[in-house]
Subunit: 273 residues, 2 copies
């Protein structure tokens, strides 16, 4: 999917919401456990209920891999279901991979060729040759971890060089030499507030994938205030607040309502712009 | 597996060799492609031929995941085969994971509980709460990326703080507060030469997992010279140089011979000690 298509989807739907499919068998409504593939049954219902209100889905691979073969099958089915029924949705494999060149190339092949997702989250620690193999696919995206929303982000991401550049800033600056805003996005946590301004100084044009709204404490308003650019430039993710809004057989309707609430907030922000 | 058991295995086998199971359908002997599970058939033959000469195996998850369901099945079978037939081998899932707490916990559950590997490689970028969930399993290990052997390791790992501390050194120092040498190891690339001395100043007692011998240019002698400690403290990995030593039906014998050659070099180094 091109940058322009993402921007058009955001305009048309008045939403920059990404729904995180962190599907956990321990948390889904118990009545689904009798289904042949409970994870996929849950995802399918959530997708059908929330698709009008979002522009992207982000299945987190850890939640699928922890169920081994069955989990992987559910992940594949979920991607295919989205591709077939909601071709305008941007599909992010939240994998946080990052390995030496030939290994990153294997991951790129698995996720871009075999599964046809639109984007993969990548960890920057191993540097350029760990990221570049993901950039060999036109129309596919790398979403690089920059400044995350968890407490441990203080440990290394905020480390400051002798020249006063923090590690996350160096990641933004260096990786800007590897790909432009048409193929790279960055993860910046919603709880970051003013730090979005520091991010935008280095990458004014890029899209940011912003987790941490809802359960983790960030708000769409604050993200919008400090993080948006002229093209919106934001994909704000919510996982638990939407998909586990309710655990009764009515869960899908509740998830749709939660997504709609966020979409309405986003539409109001876009309207002010 | 405890640190003491690893040390005893190294003494008994006079080897600190880890065999990397980076199994690629494009590189395995063509006659195996008619097998029901070519990846597992290859791994089984390689394991049977090399087990006398090594103390650890390191399947790289990327190589399995890129084949989706079939790849994941081959990975599971490989781990089970090792567990059942070679219980003294240390099994490292080379996954390079690292995510927020609840996601890391899912990976830990998948790899330590469902699959029962001994160790997981973890990327440090997201900090303490991305690593800690892997430390909740007694007898299981975290192997944290510190200083890798690829060219991109220069991009961020060598970044120097105002106080003159490089990022990889901060990773070593900080993570030393999360777990001791009985539960944590570090990845340090074999091509690092004198940098091993800098590593050892901060983590004198920890085991180091050292990739980059052979195809990537590092030598066991240099790693031993600069990286060993009183307990050996090294697991030196070789992948391609062993498992693709030959592509004829004689491949397993050739792999065994390549492993034996490295083991003999290691035995000579241990004897000098």
């Amino acid at each position: 999917m091109t940058r322009q298509e993402i921007i058009e989807n955001i305009r048309r739907k008045q939403s920059f919401l990404c729904v995180g499919l962190d599907t956990d068998l321990k948390k889904i409504p118990p009545h689904l456990l009798t289904e042949e593939d409970p994870i996929f049954a849950f995802n399918k219902a959530i997708i059908d209920a929330t698709a009008p209100y979002c522009v992207a889905y982000k299945p987190n691979l850890a939640f699928y891999e922890c169920f081994g073969l069955k989990g992987w099958a559910a992940f594949e089915k979920t991607v295919k279901y989205l591709r077939t029924n909601y071709p305008d949705q941007f599909i992010i494999a939240d994998a946080k991979r990052g390995d030496i060149g030939n290994t990153s190339a294997m991951y790129a092949r698995a996720l871009f060729e075999e599964l046809d997702v639109d984007a993969i989250t990548v960890a920057p620690y191993m540097g350029e040759d760990s990221v570049k193999p993901f950039l060999n696919y036109p129309g596919k995206w790398v979403i690089l971890l920059a400044l995350t929303s968890n407490p441990g982000s203080q440990d290394f991401q905020m480390m400051e060089s002798g020249e006063g550049e923090r590690l996350f800033e160096r990641v933004l600056r260096r990786s800007g030499e590897w790909a432009d805003a048409g193929q790279m996005m960055y993860v910046v946590g919603a709880t970051r507030g003013r730090a979005f301004e520091d991010v935008r100084r280095i990458v004014p044009n890029h899209f940011l994938l912003v987790p941490g709204v809802g359960a983790q404490g960030g708000s769409p308003e604050e993200v919008w205030r400090y993080g948006r650019n002229a093209d919106c430039g934001l994909l704000v993710n919510s996982s638990r607040g939407i998909i586990y809004a309710d655990s009764t057989p009515d869960f899908a309707r509740a998830a749709g309502a939660a997504a709609q609430t966020l979409q309405a907030q986003m539409a109001a922000l876009i309207a002010q712009h």
